[in-house]
């Protein structure tokens, strides 16, 4: 495609009555190339940073408050985190068994991440590359499954896991989390796979690859942003999810961080320092995960949004 450059060619000279007596057309100098500026490029800096700053303030103050309560000694009313103590962290980590809760949450989060990603990859590939009779209906069912809240299925799920002798087993939560996250993950992954040209896979087949090898060698590396998006979504969701862990896990040795946090609030009494320290422990892995993957995450979600 040839682009039309209207800045370097002069407009045709208007025809005049004098005809040949007319002066020869002169080439007008090219108009200076003007960069199209967006409105916000021209706005004063403060108009950008002030709203952002106010927004950040509103977002960060609750976090500051949690950290403040977590590090200042009990009874202190200081608005600054000084003098500082680690007593609340020590208390929740050892006395309130947050070390165990953390380990369980991590195990559930990682297992959900792996199972969701692997199954969603396989399902998403099928949705993206194969045509089958009930494909549209299946996609619709996947979408509709998002309208069903987990609480609605609690009792049937409980009975299923009870029949499988899986109550008070981390596996019950991993399975439930995976099942609830699969529909969205499959839809997302199929969108990413559709973005990879089919001809790349065909070229790999011509070179002797099997379908699986072509997928692994050619398609999979291109899906990295999508996998990061789906995987992190699965991890964070299962890390924060409360209901299944509360209902399916009973012994303290199996409980997770959100359930543990909830037990820090008694019926009539609450240890705010310990609660805040527990909150920091709960938030930290999510913050770290997002700090590392945010670039891929944004790329992944926007890439998946182009085609669906």
């Amino acid at each position: 495609m040839i682009a039309q450059d209207d800045t370097t060619t002069a407009p045709p000279a208007p025809a005049t009555a004098a005809g040949a007596d007319a002066a020869p057309p002169t080439r007008t100098p090219p108009a200076p190339r003007r960069k199209r500026r967006r409105a916000w490029d021209e706005a004063p800096r403060w108009q950008i940073y002030l709203p952002l700053g106010i927004y950040l303030l509103f977002t960060l103050i609750p976090f500051y408050w949690i950290v403040l309560f977590a590090v200042r000694p009990a009874g202190s009313t200081s608005l600054l985190p000084w003098p500082m103590t680690t007593a609340h962290f020590e208390k929740v980590w050892t006395e309130r068994a947050f070390a165990t809760f953390f380990q369980n949450s991590l195990l559930i989060g990682l297992a959900t991440l792996v199972t969701t990603t692997v199954v969603a990859l396989a399902g998403g590939y099928a949705l993206a590359r194969f045509d089958f009779r009930i494909k549209k209906g299946f996609m619709l069912a996947l979408l509709c499954s998002q309208f069903v809240p987990g609480a609605l299925l609690l009792v049937p799920l409980f009975q299923i896991f009870a029949n499988l002798s899986m109550i008070n087993s981390l596996g019950s939560v991993i399975i439930a989390e995976t099942v609830f996250q699969l529909p969205l993950s499959m839809i997302l992954i199929s969108g990413f796979i559709k973005n990879v040209p089919y001809s790349l896979e065909e070229a790999a087949w011509v070179d002797g690859c099997s379908r699986f090898a072509a997928f692994r060698i050619v398609v999979l590396p291109l899906l990295r942003p999508g996998l990061v998006a789906v995987g992190s979504f699965a991890f964070v969701h299962s890390w924060n999810h409360f209901l299944f862990a509360l209902m399916f896990l009973s012994s303290q040795e199996k409980q997770t961080i959100p359930v543990g946090l909830n037990t820090l609030m008694g019926a009539d009494s609450v240890d705010l320092g310990a609660l805040a320290a527990g909150g920091v422990i709960a938030a930290l892995p999510v913050v770290i995960v997002f700090a590392f993957i945010q670039k891929w995450l944004v790329t992944g979600f926007s890439a998946g949004a182009v085609k669906g």
Partner: protein
Amino acid sequence: MTIFRSGRRRAASALALATVLALTVTACGDDGSGAAGDKGTEGSGKGEITFWDNNGGVRTDVWKEIIKDFEAANPDIKVTYVGVASTEVQSKYDTAIQGGGLPDVGGVGAAMLAGIAAQNALEPLDARLESSALKGKLNAGMVDSVKSAGGQGKLFTVPTSASNGVLYYRTDLFKTAGLEEPTTWSKFYTAADKLTAKDKNRFGYTIRGGSGSIAQALDAMYGQSGITSFWNGDKTTVNDPKNVAALEKYVGLFKKNTPAADVNNDFTKMVAQWDSGEIGMLNHNLGSYKDHVKALGTEKFRGIPNPTTDDGTRVQVSNPVDGLGLFSSSKNKAAAWKFIEFAASHRSNSKWNESAGAIPANTEAAKDAWIQKAEPTKLAAEVLFSGKAQIVQLPYYLPDWNTISKADNEPAFQKVLLGKSTAKEFLDSLAEQLNTAQAEWKSQNK
């Protein structure tokens, strides 16, 4: 070829991984047996039992200590402790009643007792208590209270403790302002006014406008009106003109003598701002005493029973009595009962209540020395057991009580605070719901 060989290896690894994962996920699970309606068995009195603590977390340590003592005294019985957060215990019981997985023993507060008992999940304990060493050693008022709360005239829990409404006030602020102790409602309102200096972010009182607001408002209403019964025949007294006037006066404190944010106050926020700010008075129960001590020490505040009317009449609403229930689906009821007996015995009951700052149900435990040292508990016990206070028994026996006193009416109370509805409109609506629930309950229990 290389691809195929490594492919097979990978397939084998994947299969092995899947097998390990499957074994891991099913390991250490149980079948979650025991739903409502399951008959259960008496069992051998030995083996393993499961206990659900209905205030898990904050009371975990003391329960583990009691369980350790119990297992030392009963080496044939092992108790599995499950701490459930108080906010979630109702839904946990409800799910287990429907889907299975009920414990052998569980903590059940009076407020949720009727709902659980109505689903036939709890074993009546009257006969067991009659032949137990606990007979005659439990506070009669608390036994009557849980019997009434069960709604069927049967004893579904062995009472372990009771709380009571407490007016906490800052002695340092009262001293500086030259105020009298808020022992009467008049003195309370005077102090709330004098201690308020909005420009300095000081307030006389913090009101509970969020979760749990209804019980506190009822306590303030009946305390001021002096009405001593919740029912007048089949009609509730909540919308009696005296109660309406009392509530109008009480909600008049909002924003005038309290922070505006109090409209969303649950006990956590209320206690947190009282402990860390300069607010003169706070109404709560005995449960938060230790938090106040931790934040303020013992010198800066006192916790006294709720104020009396000017002529010294003390009327207060009943607080839910906590207790231990034996679930009818238990396959080891004999061992479960042994645990309940042990937990309600003098030593264990005293230990638990000392830790919680609550009033023991065991009459011997109620005489222990620690009660004299915990002033609010001592004063509350004196009020409850002196016979001088009139207790308005709230209808915990109504299966709808929890819904009426929480989900249905807490938002309506917020409207009263915000001036979008009047105290009379609110109380009339509340009365209508209560009268209907009472009529339904009566027709079901003819």
